[in-house]
């Protein structure tokens, strides 16, 4: 299954991101958008799956600089 995820940043001016990933995003996971790392705070389905694709919306909050190593794993780390 491929997860197409809309990441929306809570608060601030960051426009968020859309990206595909092979792991289902989970609350507490970290995601790299541009040169910043965010923590996922909520995940829900946007529309029904089609073919091998599942469509999700996730809200994220920016991690303070230096907090990227704490807590959850990024998609990249999960793939390693």
């Amino acid at each position: 299954m491929i997860y197409k995820v809309s990441y929306v940043v809570i608060g601030g001016e960051h426009p968020g991101a859309i990206m595909n990933q092979t792991n289902m995003p989970q609350v507490g996971d970290h995601v790299e958008i541009g040169n910043r790392v965010f923590e996922i705070t909520e995940v829900h389905e946007v529309m029904p799956p089609r073919g091998d694709f599942q469509f999700l919306h996730a809200t994220v909050r920016p991690l303070p600089d230096g907090d990227a190593e704490a807590g959850g794993k990024t998609e990249k780390e999960k793939g390693e």
């Binding site: 809309s6 929306v8 040169n35």
Partner: protein, 147 residues
């Protein structure tokens, strides 16, 4: 070629195409590589290509003439951009910059794509349906990001 077809299967734009149809699309796609800071195209440019992000991330920026240019969205692996030029043939509506070193894009020229769709209308139907779904997803993202 087999690796490229495998990769194309992970792109929503091509969901529903057979291996043979994916092979024909792979034949007209060309790989481009970018580094962080590279401008892929600028707002107002003439647009005749659609881009698929194989690896890396890009930033989409719009200059509204009032105020500083504003970032609209970041796009990562599997996403498409530049598709509006395929649909309406207008100038680029935004500037797109690479924000990750080693970003790899698959690029399809409009003329090549239109020719392929005329030869195999099923490809045209499926890709255009998926493109509409992608635009819808982007609109949903934009709407959610407003709150």
């Amino acid at each position: 070629m087999d690796d490229l077809i495998k990769l194309l299967k992970t792109v929503e734009l091509f969901e529903g195409l057979s291996d043979e149809q994916l092979r024909r699309l792979a034949e007209i796609s060309r790989e481009e590589r970018y580094e962080r800071g590279d401008e892929i195209f600028a707002q107002g440019d003439e647009g005749d290509k659609v881009y698929i992000i194989r690896r890396g991330q890009v930033e989409v920026v719009i200059d509204r003439r009032s105020g500083a240019p504003r970032s609209q969205i970041y796009l990562g692996q599997g996403q498409i951009f530049g598709e509006m030029a395929l649909v309406d043939m207008g100038p680029r509506s935004a500037t797109v910059r690479c924000i990750r070193d080693g970003t790899v894009l698959d690029v399809i020229k409009r003329g090549d794509f239109i020719r392929l769709c005329e030869e195999d209308t099923a490809i045209g139907y499926i890709v255009m349906r998926n493109m509409a779904a992608d635009l819808s997803f982007k609109l949903r993202h934009y709407n959610l990001a407003q709150y």
